[in-house]
Amino acid sequence: MSLRTKTFIIIGITLACLIAALYIVSQTILLRSYQQLETQSVQGDVQRGLNAVSDEETVMHATNHDWAHWDDAFQFMKDGNQVFLDANTNDSVFDTYQLNFMVFIDSAGKVTFQKGFDLVNTKEVPVPDGLKNALSVDGPLLKPVSADGKLNIDGVSGLITISEGAFIVASTPILPTNLQGQPIGSLVWGRLLDQREISSIASRTRLSIEMLPINDPNLPADYHIAESSITDSAPIDVTPLGADKVTGYTLLRDITNAPILIFRISSARSIYNQGQTSLSYFLIALLVLGVAFILVTLVLLERVILSRLAYLNTTVTKIRTSSDLDTRIAYSGKDELANLAKSINEMLGAMANAQNELLVARDQALEASQFKSQILANVSHDARTPLSVIKIRVEMLQKGIYGPLTDVQRKTLTSVTTNADQLLGFISNLLHEGQLESGKLRLLNAEFSPSDLMKTVENSMTPLANAKGLEVTTKIADDMPAIIYGDSERLSQILFNLVGNATKFTEQGRIGVKMSLPDPEHWAIEVSDTGLGIPLEAQDRIFEAFWQVDGTTTRTVNTGVGLGLSIVQQLTILMNGRVTVKSEIGSGSTFTVTLPLQHRTEEGDTARVLSVNR
């Protein structure tokens, strides 16, 4: 993931968390405040509605009180004169004071005069039947009692329910205007609290008001729930009714303080919804600001850091791919990136110096190595010519070209040949080691006869082995081809080294050389001995140059620097083959060289090479 992406993700997650936290906190705090405001507002509305109802009562009571403490009314109670009735109980009086009934009742509970009125149709109707029960002589309407338990001559006003419905009522004991003497009866007024009256109150208060009787069997569920929530300490219950409406409930009590109506105010949740809208705007503003913040941060980050990092990266990559340690990174300023660029430049300088030193050292080493190889090549070449002369001269002597030989002379010449061969092998090994090391060795792919190869090895090695009292046995498997392809000189070198090695480490017994075809694709040379054997832990290391089993290069057993097996292995690998050893201490060793059966190469070997045996 790029630094850009990471930064983007980190800032994004941080901002998202921040916005979420802010949103949750603000929602909790703000919405709760809005809800409280809403509750307070609705409570205020409910109170306003209640006040409106109470105002109705008060206004009615004031007039009722005026009439009851009036000499004309007192006189009417005494004589029942028609003049009073005509003047004061006609339809226009009911309409003016918005009364549904008016009752003059004496102290004994006997009705002196009563009249009912239909305010809708403006005509006289009978007084509601249910009123009789409310007008008991000792009831709160006819015997209003003040706080000290005495008769309250100012009367009473409030609500009552009778079978016809709820009424606003006012009742005052009838006394002369000077208030002297005992009340002669009571004047009771009432107005039905019907939908018309409720609408009137609602329109005056600009509230949405509903009132339902508490014992209404069809009372809606929200009224029921509200009724149970209302207590004396919390007389107003405010409940949201869905997302758009909030309602406030309270109980209306009658003049005996018994609850009779559930009063409900409903209003739009404008405050709460305004709060939510504000919160949404707040959230949107936060998001916009957050995105802007991310963009600005990324742009700044890009300018101040990322583009410079990218430049650093490109330049370092360019230096790496071009390997040009002389390139330097351009930088300005003094911040960490500039310091990094400076450090990289210093490192490049140090690397360039180190590389130059290494190159000088390598050139020197190469020169030394080439010099060594050259000396090796020269020495071996120069040594081969006189050795060739010695060998051919001895050969000619042995063939009797210069006359017959005595047995002692013949034996001596064999000794000369053996030692010359050893010297030649030693020189060959040195030369080949040099060639192998410098990778200059090339292999031939010429035809040769395995039996010729075997004969060469036998002829050269048998005298050496016989001198130690060892027997040399050779065997070529019947299915070996008569002619195969390869580099017979290197093969004979492998064989000389293996047989020489076997001879070196075998004190008695025999050395066996065998050629066979382990499978149709390969042929193998096996050299076994009955010698000391090689410890298991040493078997891997015997192929290393200059190493013998006892870890020294002393020539206690026989001549030879420990190059032989190393050369065997390297030559075998060059021929795409492999050499393995099986050995046990005391029961001898068997070296097996397995090689691919080579075919004549495409281009062919036009000149036949007489690979000459040692």
């Binding site: 002369v389 090479v609 000459v612």
Partner: protein, 125 residues
Amino acid sequence: MYLALIVEDAPEMATIFAEILQMAGLATEVISNGQLAIAKLKEIVPAVVILDMHLPHVSGMDILKSIRADSRLALTKVIAVTADVLLIQDLEDLADLTLIKPVTFDQLSDLTTRLLPTQTSTESQ
């Protein structure tokens, strides 16, 4: 009689080559220097040239190339002698036979039968 020109800077080696080839019935001439050999090859047409590749001043390869470039010497067999196995591949196309040092008596004495027709006469002088 076939003529063998022996180009070899080591006198002992040259002597042995000459001795063995004479035994095989060839006339021999020994030259120990590359420049002299090139001059000599302008005069004579030997049946065989025994050419040591490792010579002072003029390399055996140069001599070999000049022989192959000379149409007069088209029938001349060249036996290259070298101890340097790295040369063998380069010699394949140019030499008729390559001997790797050290050489043996048998190889040398076999040379005539390997390379030269026994019945035909040569342009040797």
